[in-house]
């Protein structure tokens, strides 16, 4: 295999900065791709070289596979790091990088394909012995069969159109009577809306928590780096992430993490990945939902509790190194919390707020890390997502970590922009958050109830 001495970064924002840092420590030359709108970005200033890959619109730049491959080849890059978002989970891109004679920093195109498709991922998980959300598994055509499955898995049950998407055609039946009533309706609607009356059904986990396991694999062997909990979400966007989960009993943690390793090894996973689960706090059952075949936004909380550098590890593995850690080498200590600082105004329904940064004060001190692409005088472009930075803290206990987060948030100042900082300050003082009492649908009603406070 080709030695990895130069790395082309096909991403932007804070993760591009994070990748440059990891590469530089390894003595790897960095080439930063950027759109016209990102010519002044911190990543461009920090990288050894920068290449303009096109117009602001992501489809014409950060998502433009032929242009990126050509630019990377021309720059003499040995490898391409996709970051997260954009092309990170595009199997065709991973294949194209390899076909062009370069290394893709991530798993194979085939592994991305297997884990990226909901049905094949569920099948792979079941094969590896990982629990999946109980349901019909595939399409059901027959109402009698559906009723039998429903009685086996128990209510409430979600009825979904097989051909649907984006939440369309979903009904929730709380009782057998409702199920008998909704099923023919759903079938008729699905037929009318999608020309396909096929349905599938799944158990509803009412107060599910989102818990995910970080894995590292070298294609043969995999290890886990414990879990993260990311239940505080708005519109399925994570806002507050922590490690370890405040509620997971040790016995369940061992089973959960072992299941993630089994799945990663079953698909010959190479690089850093995350296996996401729903966790039922009352029954202690966990269910596979999906795998993210890339580095994740919230990876720093895992880095804080384990001492690993996950981005470095993924680059080393991409360069052909075997996993240097045994499972027993991975120890965790203390508690880490990350909050996402987005250019959004929580007082005005999270309205995006791009603009000029005038006066930036970055928090510091013990156990405090701020991963960002901001600098004073930076014009935040309106074309990409709203993440400005991630404030991550570590302390010996969760209580202490929350206190430290409050202290660090107090130090953070981003002049000229509206951000999610006031939201996180309120959350840090909330009794339920302090006690770790929340689930994936907890934050949205909380935001409504606290709208007046957020508007202050």
């Amino acid at each position: 295999m080709k030695e990895l001495k130069s790395l082309f970064i096909a991403n932007r924002g804070e993760i591009a900065v994070r990748i440059i840092r990891a590469a530089r420590e390894l003595g790897i030359r960095t080439i930063q791709a950027h759109s016209v709108a990102d010519a002044d970005s911190l990543a461009v200033k920090m990288a050894d070289e920068a290449v303009n890959i096109g117009p602001p619109h992501a489809a014409k730049s950060y998502l433009n596979i032929p242009v990126i491959i050509e630019a990377a080849k021309k720059a003499g890059a040995d490898a391409i790091h996709p970051g997260y978002g954009f092309l990170a989970e595009n199997a065709g891109f991973a294949d194209a990088v390899v076909a062009a004679g370069m290394i893709f920093v991530g798993p194979s195109g085939d592994a991305i394909r297997t884990m990226g498709d909901k049905v094949s991922a569920r099948i792979a998980a079941e094969k590896a012995g990982v629990p999946v959300v109980p349901g019909s598994g595939g399409r059901i055509e027959d109402l009698t069969e559906a009723t039998q499955i429903a009685e086996r898995i128990g209510f409430p049950i979600m009825i979904k159109a097989a051909a649907g998407g984006g939440g369309r055609g979903i009904r929730i039946a709380n009782t057998a009577e409702e199920f008998a009533q909704f099923l023919p309706q759903a079938q008729g609607e699905a037929q009318a809306a999608f020309g396909d009356g096929g349905l599938y059904i799944e158990k509803v986990i009412t107060k599910a928590r989102h818990i995910e396991v970080q894995v590292l694999g070298d294609g043969e062997r995999a290890i886990h780096c414990f879990e993260r909990e990311c239940s505080l979400q708005r519109r399925r966007q994570k806002l507050w992430e922590e490690a370890p989960s405040p509620v997971l009993p040790d016995k369940v943690r061992r089973k959960l993490c072992a299941s993630a390793v089994a799945l990663a090894e079953a698909v010959h996973y190479k690089g850093a990945g995350t296996i996401e689960y729903l966790y039922d706090d009352e029954s202690h059952d966990f269910y596979f939902i999906e795998m993210n075949t890339r580095i994740q936004v919230e990876h720093p909380v895992t880095e804080f509790i384990t001492g690993l550098d996950l981005v470095r590890e993924m680059i080393l593995i991409a360069g052909g190194a075997r996993l240097k850690h045994r499972q027993d080498d991975i120890k965790r200590s203390g508690h880490a919390i990350e909050v996402r600082i987005n250019a959004e105004d929580p007082a005005r329904n999270f309205m995006p707020f791009p603009g000029l940064v005038k006066g930036l004060r970055v928090p510091g001190g013990p156990g405090t890390r701020f991963d960002t692409m901001l600098y004073d005088g930076y014009q935040v472009p309106p074309f990409y997502d709203s993440l400005l930075g991630k404030l991550i803290v570590w302390d010996e206990t969760r209580e202490r970590a929350i206190d430290r987060m409050k202290r660090a948030l107090g130090e953070l100042e981003i002049g000229g922009l509206k951000t999610t900082k006031p939201l996180h300050l309120l959350l840090a003082d909330d009794a339920a958050v302090r006690q770790g009492q929340f689930h994936t649908r907890w934050l949205e009603p909380w935001l409504e109830a606290n709208a007046a406070k957020l508007a202050e």
Partner: protein, 78 residues
């Protein structure tokens, strides 16, 4: 006196509700106050741009998928 409809936000201008959907409006179309002319995407959030005056669309001053600044003229209505 032609009226220029200005973009309320910086972002990407779209003339269609979705890539596979027809244009909201064409040059020469009559518009009423409140008619949707296009979308501005700001940080992955989509905001409708509505006509503030009634009249006829003379000319689009920004293209579909063009990056625009806040206050930039999008369309001329007479």
């Amino acid at each position: 006196m032609p009226h220029e409809l200005l973009s309320p936000l910086p972002g990407t201008f779209y003339r269609r509700p979705a890539p596979d959907k027809p244009l909201y409006k064409n040059e020469g179309d009559e518009v009423a106050v409140g008619d949707v002319i296009g979308l501005i995407e700001v940080m992955k959030s989509f905001n409708e741009v509505k006509a503030e005056v009634a009249g006829k669309i003379v000319k689009f001053l920004a293209d579909n998928e063009e990056p625009v600044m806040a206050g930039q003229a999008l369309v001329e209505i007479a």
